[in-house]
């Protein structure tokens, strides 16, 4: 936005200014009779669920009366209605415990976003041009129904594909049932920063295909391998609460914490020790620690049990993982390894966690298994201060297929589409995911989607994926719809978050689950669902849960307090339910996903694998480390102005993207702060400002994911660069998960600062002069 435009809008003002101030009558605007009663000036708090990440924090919404511009039966006007003013953590919720991260609080801007899609849209221009025309809901649904009926008549039910984000709960359950009943293959879920590898590892090691929960509040010594657990990883808010307790919550005890990662993350900045190990060697380091414990007889080898048995050479005492050997591979001093290992047992309870980049290597699964084995060896699984698995509520109200659904990665699907002609996928439904932006160019997702004859999107915004669709059926904002979630980690008790709509819809949107149910009923061969609307389904689901008290039932109680959860035990402390503690605490709990009922796949011991990187070290001397942006995660939040203007915790950058580079390296390459760099991988190149940071290894270039959108609202479009584009499409072989940290790059200086890097802070050091002296 150049200054002229800026000035223009600065001066322009709206009617609300008038409404607020002296009353001159505004004849122009019609005022509708309010549909609900509110006491003006008095706030009401309603429960809801934060939709932004899989953590599933329960929130409360501050609702106050206000004037909103709405459209009622085709006429624009003003109406007095309850409006959401602020999001806070739900104090009663076991995961958020009354707290909420910055992203979660910014989620309120989704509901009020100026670029929200306000009504169904039908494509008019060529695909990707973003030319749409509004259509009525009936027309839109009719069109989608026609497409599906078409598949049925041509007896090609498997030609329907459903692409969704990660997530668990009734909504996803409804989708899978829809596909199941229709006869389509199960939904493909795509999420750049997914947890597939970790879930798989936990399944193998502990029989729980689930994210781990950490009882940090009572931990003594935490070693985190790349897990940004205070930023974006797993269940940040719950982990924050634990962290605060761990540091200063106990008299005389202060939990220690070591972060192993080549680029200091915001989490790493809080660590007592930062260990920049070589990328891809985290598993080796974990086994190095285990080796010390074993060789020093600090823990018996068999304590690791099955998790240990999975590691090749475990019972032999992990010969070949002596500190000396490990130092060679990881670059971490042998003495340091010794010290860390001893601390793990001397400052009990010691616990290790792994996440983020280490799992996004070609040897990610091995690393995860190694850390699992280390935890098992430390005997902290399911124990206070250790790692555990949150008891799960069955995520379904109808019996699932007997056979576990086959897993399909997006990569596989796009490959299939591009391979066959005509495309095996005839109708594609996309819900809350943006693979065109968040998948490496090697997958050619865009070309694949362009080959699909009909795409319908449920998105609320025109993004790189929905812009390709033929039909857009905009979903409600989460505050306007029934929300339900079944978090898999972050608390000690089973949790099912539930909330009715907190506000009336502002626009002509419809809740996607309701739309699916409508479509299901309007098909020539209706998929006979037992429910008309999503809330009926939720009611049925919650009917199966035990009532918290005699005078109420789970359903009504859940709506009031924002969800259903098993009681914490008498001590009031939330003891994590480990594998041992399956049956407790409250009601029916069972293992996650239902994919591994009872049995567990017996896996052969895995051998340490060398991490494979794309690109010759000679030609591409640097490891390229894209990381989940503190503000935007995988880029799905880049459209929120609050988050755009939030100074990045480490760099204080706003409205920017940048590449972090070690100062020594920079001076070698003649690069100064803000200089424009060209970062080139085998897949392509991008240009972005350099940001010199002492917190990154000399052979690593790090870049936050999230910016670089082509089309994603006025705030994100054309802003910054998207590092995913230059990632190689390497994958972790077992799970097929994208190894997004397995790319090498080269860096060249293109020119002086071009003003793209906007920093809030002036200086990076408290005593800049003294620092210059030291150097």
């Amino acid at each position: 936005m150049d200054r002229r435009i800026f000035l223009k809008v600065t001066a322009v003002t709206g009617t609300s200014a008038t409404l607020a101030s002296c009353g001159n009558p505004e004849h122009a605007i019609i005022r509708f009779i309010p549909e609900e009663e509110h006491v003006p000036g008095v706030a009401e708090w309603k429960p809801s669920l934060c939709p932004l990440c899989q953590a599933g924090c329960g929130v409360i919404v501050r609702v106050m009366e206000g004037d909103a511009e709405v459209v009622r039966n085709g006429q624009a006007g003003v109406m007095r209605m309850g409006l959401a003013k602020k999001l806070e953590g739900n104090p009663a919720h076991p995961i958020s415990q009354g707290k909420l991260c910055g992203r979660g609080q910014a989620a309120i801007q989704i509901a009020y976003h100026p670029d929200r899609i306000t009504q169904p849209l039908k494509r008019t221009g060529p695909r990707g041009q973003g030319q749409f025309q509004p259509v009525t809901w009936d027309a839109a649904i009719a069109e989608l129904v026609a497409q599906l009926d078409g598949l049925v008549t041509s007896n090609n039910q498997r030609g329907l594909a459903f692409l969704k984000g990660g997530g668990r709960g009734q909504r996803d359950d409804l989708v899978s049932q829809f596909l199941d009943r229709f006869g389509a293959p199960p939904a493909v879920s795509f999420d750049l920063f997914n947890y597939d590898v970790l879930r798989r590892a936990n399944l193998l090691s502990f029989g729980r295909e689930q994210l781990p929960t950490f009882d940090l509040a009572r931990s003594g010594y935490v070693v985190s391998f790349g897990a940004d657990f205070l930023g974006t990883w797993n269940s940040p808010v719950a982990q924050h609460a634990g962290y605060g307790q761990m540091r200063q919550g106990r008299r005389g005890v202060r939990g220690a914490f070591v972060q192993v990662e080549p680029r200091m993350s915001q989490t790493g900045a809080n660590a007592d020790e930062w260990v920049p190990a070589r990328p891809g060697t985290e598993g080796v380091l974990a086994l190095g620690l285990a080796h010390v414990l074993l060789s020093a007889r600090l823990r018996p080898a068999d304590a690791a049990g099955r998790a240990g048995a999975l590691i090749d050479g475990w019972n032999a005492g992990l010969t070949g993982y002596t500190p000396a050997d490990v130092e060679k591979q990881t670059g971490v001093a042998a003495a340091r390894i010794e010290r860390m290992a001893r601390a793990l047992v001397e400052q009990p309870p010691g616990v290790a966690m792994i996440g983020g980049a280490p799992l996004a290597q070609t040897n990610g699964l091995f690393a995860a298994l190694a850390v699992n084995a280390l935890n098992a060896l430390l005997g902290n699984v399911g124990q206070p201060g250790g790692v555990s698995f949150m008891p799960q509520i069955p995520a379904t109200v109808t019996p699932r297929r007997s056979s576990p659904p086959e897993r399909r990665t997006l990569q596989a699907v796009t490959a299939a589409i591009l391979a066959a002609d005509p495309s095996p996928v005839q109708v594609l439904l996309v819900d809350s995911t943006n693979p065109v932006f968040a998948s490496p160019s090697g997958w050619r997702t865009r070309e694949a989607l362009l080959k699909v004859p009909f795409i319908a999107s449920f998105g609320s915004f025109i993004d790189e994926t929905s812009v390709l669709s033929d039909l857009i059926l905009p979903d409600h904002a989460f505050l306007e719809s029934w929300v339900e979630g079944r978090p898999e980690s972050g608390a000690a008790v089973p949790v099912a978050t539930l909330a009715p709509p907190a506000l009336r819809p502002l626009h002509q949107t419809r809740a996607t689950p309701d739309v699916l149910l409508q479509v299901a009923s309007r098909l020539n061969k209706p998929l006979d669902f037992p429910w008309q609307t999503f809330d009926e389904m939720l009611m049925a689901a919650f009917a199966t849960l035990p009532a918290p008290s005699a005078d109420t039932d789970a359903w009504t109680a859940a709506q009031q307090q924002g969800g259903w959860w098993g009681a914490a035990d008498a001590a009031g402390q939330t003891r994590p339910g480990g594998p041992a503690a399956q049956a407790e605490p409250a009601g029916r709990t069972t293992q996650a996903g239902g994919t591994n009922q009872g049995g567990r796949p017996d896996a052969a011991p895995v051998r340490a694998l060398e991490a494979q990187f794309d690109g010759e070290p000679a030609a591409y001397p640097f490891h390229f480390l894209p990381y989940a942006s503190h503000a935007f995660l995988d880029g799905s939040l880049a459209h929120l102005p609050w988050l755009q203007e939030l100074p990045d915790a480490m760099t204080t950058a706003m409205w920017s993207s940048w590449a972090e580079i070690n100062p020594q390296t920079a001076s070698k390459l003649g690069i100064a702060e803000g200089d424009v760099l060209e970062i080139t991988s085998t897949q392509g190149s991008l240009r972005t400002p350099a940001l010199l940071s002492p917190g990154i290894a000399p052979d690593v270039i790090a870049m936050p994911v999230g910016q670089g959108h082509e089309t994603f609202t006025r705030y994100a479009s054309g802003r910054g660069q998207n590092p995913i584009k230059i990632l190689a499409s390497a994958a972790e072989p077992e799970t097929g998960a994208l190894a997004w940290a397995a790319t090498r790059v080269r860096v060249t200086r293109i020119g002086p600062p071009n003003g793209d890097l906007i920093l809030f802070a002036g200086e990076m050091r408290e005593h800049p002069h003294e620092h210059e002296h030291e150097r």
Binding site: L7, A761, G762, R765, H769
Partner: protein
């Protein structure tokens, strides 16, 4: 009335009575610039203060620099002419009025800047204590309120000090004009008839004013310096600021005066009345102030460096060797390195030499004020919040237009009032001065001799 007197009167009243086209061109040119400045200010008020380069954490910059600068310039006149009057330095006579005019106009311009720099200028009157239904008064603890009083007092004083000795000359013009001019000058000359009584009254009044204005003048710039030294900002919070600012003010004031005189001399053909002697003497004054300034800067810098206090040193480095170093050393060169030799050597202390030196000093002193304000604000205690500043067009335009305004006011003044006090030159026009008049004539002649000798 002697021929000398008549010639003198004719010479000095010529500019008033005959107007060349060149005058109108000049007025139009300057007027245009001033108008642009005013327009820019309106533009800035309309859109918001954000049009300037001011930013977090540097909330004062060009406008406050100009404020201090112009208030400084204002110390030329009144102070100088008052002192010279009191010590009865005869060579002062042709100088005083140009000097006092500078004071008044510089004050008027300087006093505008606190308003221009406000976020909401239309509310500036809240600085004025007046009874109101809210029952709220200005905060008398605030140096800005002190400023308000100091400047109003000084302005009133200077206007009187300028006006009093003008009365006889205005009367003179009245008698030489006809029509509407006659009437106007009649009004402003307050019915001066040149009776002994009036002469005595005038003399007394001027004596009183001369004495009264000195403390005011000193206090004004001390208070301006308090705007800075009262705030706990590294580089500002210094006890030396009072005298430092006063010295700087007189320094820049004399420089301005020299330039003004030189211009008048050439444009109004007053060679006979503004002699090299005057420049010589003012040059000596300027030299002294230059030394004084250098001393103050040295003392101030040395203590900071020796004290080696973290925050202070950050500012010190920024100015001495950091981003502001080029400006800083330019300042030193302009305020000392160049003027000192020129003014020290009798050979170079010519009119031209003095003008060169003065021009440098004006530049240097403007920079000095800028370097006091901006680097300090940019380097306060928490380095996270450090910042830097670049001026934007609105600030530059408004700054330039104030110089035009100064010139415009001066040109118009010279047009309407004899810029050199006629009656003071032809002392003896009334009995009270008979005695002095002889000497006066003498040194007048002495000067003629001095000038005619090669």
């Amino acid at each position: 009335m002697s021929d000398a007197d008549r010639r003198l009167t004719d010479d000095l009243l010529r500019p008033l009575l005959t107007t060349s086209a060149r005058f109108w061109v000049l007025v139009a040119f300057l007027g245009a610039i001033v108008a642009t400045g005013l327009g820019t200010w309106v533009y800035q008020m309309y859109w918001g203060f954000g049009l300037t380069g001011v930013r977090w954490p540097i909330f004062w910059a060009f406008y406050v620099t100009n404020f201090v600068f112009w208030i400084g310039i204002s110390h030329a006149g009144t102070l100088i002419s008052a002192i010279l009057r009191l010590v009865n330095a005869r060579w002062r006579r042709p100088v005083t009025r140009c000097a006092e005019a500078i004071t008044v106009f510089a004050l008027m311009i300087g006093a505008m800047f606190p308003i221009i720099h406000l976020g909401r200028p239309w509310l500036f009157f809240w600085l004025i204590p007046y009874p109101n239904q809210r029952g709220i008064w200005p905060n008398f603890r605030s140096p800005l309120v002190w400023d308000f009083f100091a400047i109003t007092a000084y302005l009133t004083g200077s206007v009187l000090f300028l006006f009093l000795p003008m009365i006889p000359d205005l009367a003179l013009v009245r008698d030489r004009t006809t029509g509407w001019r006659h009437r106007c000058y009649g009004v402003v000359s307050l019915g001066w008839r040149g009776t002994t009584k009036q002469w005595n009254r005038l003399e007394t009044a001027m004596e009183i004013m001369a004495i009264a204005i000195l403390p005011v003048a000193v206090s004004v710039h001390t208070i301006v310096s308090f705007d800075f030294s009262m705030a706990p900002v590294p580089g500002w919070h210094s006890t030396i600021f009072g005298p430092y600012f006063v010295a700087g003010a007189i320094f820049s004031g004399i420089a301005a005066l020299i330039i003004a005189m030189a211009l008048l001399r050439t444009f109004l053909h007053l060679e006979e009345y503004l002699h090299p002697v005057h420049f010589q003497n003012l040059g000596k004054l300027l030299l002294m102030m230059s030394l004084l300034w250098a001393y103050f800067v040295f003392a101030e810098r040395l203590t900071v460096w020796y004290g080696n206090e973290t925050a202070e040193m950050a500012v010190f480095r920024a100015t001495q060797s950091g981003a502001f170093a080029p400006l800083y050393w330019t300042m030193v060169v302009c305020n000392f390195v160049i003027p000192f030799p020129i003014l020290a050597l009798k050979k170079t202390r010519t009119i031209a030499g003095c003008v060169v030196a003065s021009s440098c000093v004006l530049v240097g002193m403007w920079l000095e004020r800028f370097l006091i304000i901006v680097p300090s604000l940019g380097h306060k205690y928490l380095p996270y919040s450090w910042g830097t500043y670049r001026p934007r067009p609105v600030e530059i335009i408004i700054t330039i237009s104030t110089f035009a305004a100064m010139s415009l006011l001066y040109v118009l003044f010279a047009k309407l009032v004899p810029i050199i006090s006629v009656w003071e030159l032809k002392v003896g026009a009334h009995p009270a001065h008979a005695a002095e008049s002889v000497e006066a004539r003498d040194d007048e002649q002495a000067l003629f001799v001095a000038r005619t000798e090669p």
